[in-house]
Subunit: 420 residues, 2 copies
């Protein structure tokens, strides 16, 4: 038979809905069993391809694959591993081709963010650079919402919903306590260079239910005097306020407010702990009691409160990736195109990977309010539909029924180990 | 007319379901309009009584009161304010009587934890000590689950569900990342002296879906060497683990691992930041990459994922408080009595306040596993039903429809201000 198999892998930080994309890929491939053989998943992303550690998804039942749609984390394992350029590490590419050839793989689906788009782009060029025929389609995923061209990134909407919801709930809490105790709640969220996630905190305040909320964006250099004046005014007028602070906030000298002093596997600075820095500053300078929280993984894993829009997007980009490949396409990323804000309408599109890889989309200036501490109406119009709709997982015994796949290995065909 | 009015107030840290108790009180009082006049809520707890700052709940529609059942925070404002003893501050009691007499208040419902039970107990004695007839019933509420006699405390079940769920979701995240990046997730939860909330993290692991989870209880002095050995073993065997750490964990010398150096309005040490301490310890000593989160207010405000059992308890204790008062009772706390674990059955009971006030219920030794890092089957049987069932709030525009009451003041009848 000449049906090619497909390789699918998950990369980078996970999201609440990355497995919904996996579900879209696998279910769509199963519907086209005449054209696509098996879907092999890389165990731990591209590392699974390099080490010939492939998972045979055909061993999973339709029910188990369907349950991926409501399961957070990366069902096949993710990785932080960026392929070097062809000139720098030809051996890696030779190895990938060796594995792909051995397992009759002709389709490459990579589910990730900026770094992963770069990897996917390099794979998409193997036909030209190394003479190995493969079609590579990138499936966008990142809570950071910083991929270019696409209107939004699957994963972001659910993180945004979690942050908006948590800011709302914590704001009701601090409002309750403020007369005799805590007056300021500080909430640290992700977003190293772009304030997309932090901006969602502002959605907790609406015209019908206004709440005093201050957003600290990484795009705006932190001005301590101006910030403290803002907090002081809000507390004096309304009794309390909430501060949503992006982990990536920097002082005017460009230094992160909280720098834990070590780097991750990509060499990015590992951040954390800006919330206690800001909380202590408020207490010391203004004398207001504070509480602080750090969402960390919770915001990108909170499938229990995923946005239905986001889950739909995530499934759709997985499905579209397979359909594009079957249509003969290569070197594309699937995109989400917005047709209208209200009512929200969208469709799937695509963009060449060379326009995507390593490009980071920051918040437009028109989305950040004049004082630098809030969002504009344009930003609210952009964000609102992305957190829209609920999509609850099934529960048993008080907890969501998240699926754990069997993840059975594909028998190895090569006798050469490889150490990436 | 000789129908007495009722006073209701919320005290201490809020919970996801304290307003469900308010709902139970007000709806039940409305059903007994022949015996109870109006329900006046204290603005910011007992402080509202002292300052004659009363809220007229009769101005709120039935729909608004019903919506309290799914709204977190304290709808009338809470407080951290503990009445002194009668001998120490007779003026406060005289003032309360003055306000209660002016507003024809004969029923006192106080919704809080240990400190509030003490306040409620003092009020319940006013008839005996000061000759003012009033019936005081305490409505239990605390995420800490540390009130004695009652099987559990309304508010705890939802916090426990949030912690179990968040630990599950974050564990799937760290499992996904562990091959090439983060191997340990550290999650800080509340619980100053009792490990009830932390223990709920262990529910994320089940026989069908085992997960490596380490619990750090405040009841067990922190043993760094033993803890690091445990983490090392889990990571070596399973690739990753999650650590759920109670804010109240202390070293063998009795000092909190993270002591922010200032105290709250009750003089309790203000804690926070044990997660980064533990995460840094793991990174420095074992070299494992870590991520950490601090739940803080989120765990006690997460009405979006409340336990239905907990919400039912909270409503029931509010209703029962009114019914007990109408039956002529005084100086009681409403309790939850467990009839059976599985299927879970419960009923409402009551206990004399003198058995409750200022008594703190810690985790029984039989609930903490032999190595001090987990829970026993007995603990699991106790906890499981408390997180059972979902009770979603209605949503609009992607966010829960939490109600904001009008909170119209009752016209003041006294011309003397009071400064508590």
């Amino acid at each position: 038979m000449d049906r090619k198999n497909a390789f699918y892998a998950q990369s980078g930080g996970v999201t609440a809905v990355i497995n919904a994309s996996a579900c879209g890929v696998i279910e769509t491939a199963r519907r086209h069993a005449d054209k696509i053989g098996k879907v092999y998943a890389g165990r731990n992303g591209i590392v699974g391809a390099l080490t010939e550690d492939l998972i045979d998804t055909s061993q999973e039942s339709d029910v188990a694959i369907a349950a991926l749609r409501h399961t957070p984390g990366a069902a096949f394992g993710s990785c932080r591993y960026k392929l070097k350029g062809l000139e720098e590490n030809r051996a890696e590419y030779q190895r990938l081709i060796e594995v792909f050839r051995a397992h009759h793989i002709g389709y490459f689906f990579y589910n990730g963010g900026n770094d992963s788009a770069d990897t996917c782009h390099k794979i998409s060029q193997l036909s030209r650079t190394m003479g190995f025929p493969i079609q590579a389609i990138h499936i966008p995923k990142t809570v950071d919402n910083d991929l270019p061209v696409t209107d939004c990134c699957p994963g972001f909407g659910s993180a945004a919903k979690y942050v908006a919801l948590s800011t709302l709930e914590a704001s009701l809490d601090v409002a309750s306590m403020s007369a005799t105790s805590t007056k300021v709640f500080v909430f640290e969220v992700m977003g190293r260079h772009a304030g997309w996630i932090a901006s969602a905190g502002a959605l907790a305040s609406t015209p019908e239910r206004p709440l005093p909320i201050v957003i600290l964006f990484p795009e705006i250099p932190f001005d301590q005097r101006k910030f403290l004046a803002k907090v002081k005014t809000l507390v004096e007028r309304q009794g309390h306020c909430s501060v949503v602070v992006s982990e990536g906030v920097r002082n005017p000298e460009g230094k992160f407010l909280a720098d834990a002093g070590y780097t991750d596997a990509f060499g990015h600075t590992q951040l954390g702990g800006v919330a206690p820095v800001v909380a202590r500053m408020i207490y010391n300078e203004l004398g207001f009691r504070t509480h602080w929280a750090v969402a960390d993984y919770l915001q990108r894993s909170a499938r229990h409160v995923a946005s239905r829009t986001d889950a739909d997007h995530a499934y759709a980009v997985g499905r579209a990736a397979v359909e594009l490949a079957l249509a003969g396409e290569n070197a594309l990323m699937v995109t989400i195109e917005r047709v209208s804000d209200d009512p929200y309408r969208w469709r799937v599109g695509s963009a060449p990977l060379e326009r995507i890889a390593n490009v980071e989309k920051k918040m437009p200036e028109t989305f950040i309010g004049a004082d630098g501490f809030g969002i504009t109406e344009a930003c609210r119009r952009y964000l609102s539909p992305l957190i829209g709709g609920e999509d609850y997982p099934p529960y048993a015994g008080g907890l969501p029924c998240y699926v754990r796949l069997q993840n059975r290995p594909v028998p190895k065909l090569l006798d050469t180990p490889f150490h990436p």
